[in-house]
Amino acid sequence: MPAPPPSSAGPVSVALLDHRRDGADAPLLEVHDLHVEYLSPRGPVRAVDGVSFTIRPGEVLGLAGESGSGKSTIAHAILRTLHPPAVITGGEVRFRGQDLLAMSDEELEQFRWRDVSMVFQSAMNALNPVMTVGDQIIDTILAHQEMPRQRARARAVELFEIVGIDPGRLNAYPFQLSGGMRQRAVIAIALALDPPMMIMDEPTTALDVVVQRDIMQQIEDLKTRLGFSILFITHDLSLLVEFSDRIAIMYAGEIVEFAPAREIFDNPLHPYTRGLMSSFPALTGEKVRLTGIPGAPPDMVAPPTGCRFHPRCSQVKPMHRQVVPRLREVTPGHFVACHLYPEMG
């Protein structure tokens, strides 16, 4: 994988943007310096605080981090489906160069699902309980494409076959399906319009390990066959390493480490990433209690000064409490926001 150009002046995270817009490798999605806040009575919760990344066609970008680090918030901000009290307070989100934050409601309705679809973290609750799953697929297709209902239904049958559910279950209501089937149904909906990009927000957390592996394998196959990009969110690092091309690690609303998957796995730099690694569940899938990092995630209304991780870091030095570490490239393609590592070169 070609390394992004080294960082220069200005917000360092720009370095993560892929500047070569020409050719097939032009980025599909660019997120630049994104800020999202939840307004709360105590003050704004800065859930996403200056995050930048790009996703290229066919690429799988993994996003990992503790619970509450802002992963889902990023996912929903891209589709702009966050509800009050959430407000996007800055940054840019571009899809194929189009600015999503400047789109009108109608343009957004068109953009959603046709260009980017999403498998929700709580896929269990993502289905309308009083509508058959078949109708919910047809609904989606007809919202974007003019076609007779019959054709939409044929497509729904096809989609159910792709994700491995008996098309007979199209007439079932969500509560009549098992958790795994519901998850597959949601994936089928996400595939309905053949979008160039999918966001998968912990698509398998609610499922048991066997079903989990099964579904992941299926997504992998589909991706190879259909060639869409994926923004893949999970806190299961083992799954992530296996599955993504590049990985971004989030802590307290910021990306603290960003590198190709193997590189993160072989050579984690940030103490937080190492902590996450040590709480790595075995690849057999046994759930191990996360023991890696002592302490609790910070209060995002008033995050710690300096390095946000310093209250929990074992290698903290006085300077770290004051100076904000910037995301810097320490080895080619490997970025980390940590004072312990000198900038490359």
Binding site: H35, V36, L39, S40, P41, S67, G68, H76, A77, R80, T81, L82, H83, P84, P85, A86, V87, I88, T89, G90, L101, M103, D105, L108, A296, P297
Partner: protein, 345 residues
């Protein structure tokens, strides 16, 4: 395993994002008995800071004063014959005279006493029954809940007014009968709400903490949990008072009360009986009805304000209104896409 107060675990709460945060003492109430009194005053002050609540409270205060000082405001016996029947309002008789030549103003003033007293008494009685039955059912669950819920539901489904009428017809006429039948039919509404809230509260950590520390069930229900549900109980009592004043007036209007006492309901009964309206003597009919409406409206305002203060969703909405710079009174339209508000800096 008895624990001293100091060893008691700190009450905590899990946020939707899975974070665990300590609860503010004000949210767990019972954890800090010393401050409860000031918490009550603080609550009242917070309520009155709300414009709707202050307005409602002012109306109620005015009626309370009128009731208390009835002998000063309208000296003499309000059922005395004072002037020609059905005289229109004049400087001497502000609200005119009844079909029997009584002063409508004096009657309205004295009626305030009876109507408010019954209303408040029944409101308190209903609130107490509701709290005891509802919270007991919710706390114990299982059989106890089954039986109590069944009783509540039966009371809810049996049509209240016909039951009131039938009861009033059989029991000896009088204020006590009225108060009794109103409490008898009015309690299950509040009990139901408190029960379901208790079911949710039962799962909270501070309840388990109290259970582990070996507190008696009665203490847990009424000293630990009840303070957290004051706003529900109070709003139930408000509702019951409105119900009591309205239903009392209804029963008396139908001639089922003690028609020799003077209350807003009996004033309306006599107005109807003496064909007040049909002879154009609207003044015999309008004042008492307006009084009932004003009192009910005042309680509705208080309840509305109570909800506004305690309902987190409404609070969040206010918050976002402030940030988005709209008028504070207006809720924003449902945003179809996450709002983008770029902050300077």
């Amino acid at each position: 395993m008895a624990q001293t107060a100091d060893e008691r675990p700190i009450p905590i709460q899990t946020t939707p994002a899975g974070q665990v945060v300590p609860l503010a003492p004000d949210a767990t109430g019972g954890a800090m008995p010393a401050t409860r009194r000031s918490a009550v005053f603080g609550g009242v002050r917070r309520l009155l800071a709300n414009r709707k609540a202050a307005f409602g409270a002012a109306i109620l205060l005015m009626f309370a004063l009128v009731g208390i000082f009835a002998p000063v405001i309208a000296p003499g016996d309000p059922s005395d014959f004072v002037a020609r029947p059905h005289q229109a309002p004049s400087a001497e008789y502000w609200f005119g005279t009844t079909g029997q030549g009584q002063d409508v103003f004096a009657q309205t003033v004295w009626g305030t006493r009876v109507s408010l007293t019954i209303g408040v008494l029944v409101g308190i009685a209903v609130a107490i029954i509701g709290v005891v039955v509802g919270m007991t059912a919710g706390y114990f669950g299982g059989r106890v809940d089954d039986v109590l819920s069944l009783v509540m539901n039966v009371f809810l489904i049996v049509p209240a007014l016909p039951l009131l009428v039938t009861l009033a017809a059989f029991l000896p006429p009088g204020m006590l009968t009225i108060a009794f039948v109103l409490a008898f039919t009015g309690w299950p509404w509040g009990a139901r709400v408190l029960r379901s809230q208790m079911l949710a509260m039962r799962e909270k950590d501070f309840v388990s903490a109290a259970q582990i520390s070996g507190e008696s069930k009665v203490r847990i229900i009424f000293a630990e949990v009840l303070p957290n549900m004051t706003s529900l109980a109070v709003s139930g009592a408000f509702g019951a008072t409105v119900y009591a004043i309205g239903a009392q007036a209804g029963l008396e209007f139908l001639g089922l009360g003690d028609i020799s006492t003077i209350s807003w309901g009996t004033i309306l009964y006599w107005a109807g009986n003496n064909a007040g309206l049909l002879t154009g003597a609207w003044w015999t009919f309008v004042p008492a009805g307006l009084c009932i409406a004003l009192v009910a409206f005042a309680f509705a305002l208080l309840n509305y304000a109570l909800d506004e203060i305690t309902n987190p969703r409404l609070r969040a909405q206010r918050e976002i209104n402030n940030v988005l710079g709209r008028s504070k009174e207006k809720l924003p339209k449902r945003a179809r896409a996450t709002p983008v508000v770029r902050r300077a800096g």
